[in-house]
Point group: C2
Chain length 248, copies 2
């Protein structure tokens, strides 16, 4: 059943998220794009700009998942330590990447090509570049670890182009269904249906609007017939209970 399903993990790097200063925006974007491509996200971890921690997580994730995506820490400043951490994780040298140096030097030809800017061209040995059409400083990948910047506007444009190069995974089908009944009322029935249909995954999410509340059920699976069948059973039950079911 799990054949063709690609698993991935995301590592978000940055003190500014852990101390609450910055709201983390990249992981939701990545989850949506990966899901559209048929790649499951199985774990997200947010860690500080600290070398040992990055090395540990990269080594753990690259064994565990088919794809690992990191964001953050590849800029020109002292707290940008992702590239050197990844080189250490893979036990390779951090070296001046001549292609990266060339494109950065051209980009900064009107300005000072400072030591700090040159720092962005130091990448792990044998890294392949990922194009950055916004601020030029490239991302890179090494085996199954894909390294992106943390600034959402830059990451997003880079990722939309990059993801076209990844093989598509098996697509999940999905049906959403809402009701004005609460989880406490429909929960037992939905739980039984879930037990009888283990190839389908039913998520139950209460919602609160200004003047109403209810539940949205998300029914997902790789087999279209199974999810149609489950959705019909739940729809009929809610209708019987006068729960105003809506499919969308």
């Amino acid at each position: 059943m799990k054949i063709g399903i690609k698993k991935s993990g995301i590592i978000i790097i940055g003190n500014e998220i852990l101390n609450g200063k910055t709201i983390e925006k990249n992981s939701n974007f990545l989850c949506r794009k990966l899901s559209d491509r048929g790649i499951e996200v199985n774990e997200i971890v947010i860690i500080p700009d600290q070398k040992e921690n990055i090395i540990e997580k990269v080594n753990l994730f690259r064994k565990k998942f088919e794809y690992v995506f990191t964001t953050g820490g590849i800029g020109p400043t002292h707290d940008d330590i992702t590239s050197e951490s990844i080189a250490e994780a893979f036990n390779v040298r951090l070296e001046l990447n001549l292609h990266a140096k060339k494109i950065l030097k051209e980009h900064y030809s009107d300005e000072a090509f400072t030591k700090a800017r040159l720092k962005m061209a130091y990448l792990p040995e044998n890294a392949s570049l990922i194009d950055n059409p916004v601020s030029i400083a490239p991302g890179f990948f090494l085996e199954n670890v894909y390294v992106f910047p943390g600034v959402p506007k830059i990451l997003e444009i880079m990722f939309v182009e990059f993801i076209k190069t990844l093989e598509k995974g098996k697509k999940k089908f999905q049906i959403m269904l809402s009701t004005i009944l609460s989880e406490g009322i429909i929960g037992e029935f939905v739980g039984q249906i879930q037990k009888q249909n283990l190839d389908v995954e039913i998520g139950s999410y209460p919602y609160f609007k200004k003047k109403s509340f209810g539940v949205t059920l998300v029914i997902r699976g790789y087999d279209k017939n199974s999810i149609d069948n489950v959705a019909k059973k739940i729809f009929d039950y809610i209708k019987l209970k006068k729960g105003n079911p809506k499919l969308f």
Copy 2:
């Protein structure tokens, strides 16, 4: 140096975040509140509603950090498996908590007290309740693991009351400083200052506004004199470089 500093980890539980359907909002709220209380967040992990995964992370985190906070998975439906997973992690029974049952039964006295609703009163043996003024269903804690619901509106009100019961940690001081110069220009100098002042943590964050860009530096530490001193050195350097430094 690390005496009095309290470390914590956050475990966010929910498929809906990993498949991109829901934007995760609880961790930033928790990070801000914990930081205000002098408690550092050292790691956030987002995992699916899957028992083995929850058990593994809870057992890892409760050994590693002084406080562990979880959100999600304590509602009335089949996909709410946090309580039973935590019971298993601690190797204790999941039992009907009579106090939780009583307050839930009273709350639902006008409505059906269904089996699904009763499910929310099954908690790990010896768990202590955490009050929920919004939807009554309590959170709980067991040793250093604190368990909250996933709905942000409910979690937020619960947490604001709850955190008053946690001992305050050592407060970090912070100075923020912005400049119109880019990271590539100031990066080398700031990096040198960082190397010379290891008790201070300097974060460098580029910003992009509609018509301008620049960098905000965040200087943090437990010693007020050290951060004042570092801020002054960087301020003077930026002023010299005509970088329009601003403290805020």
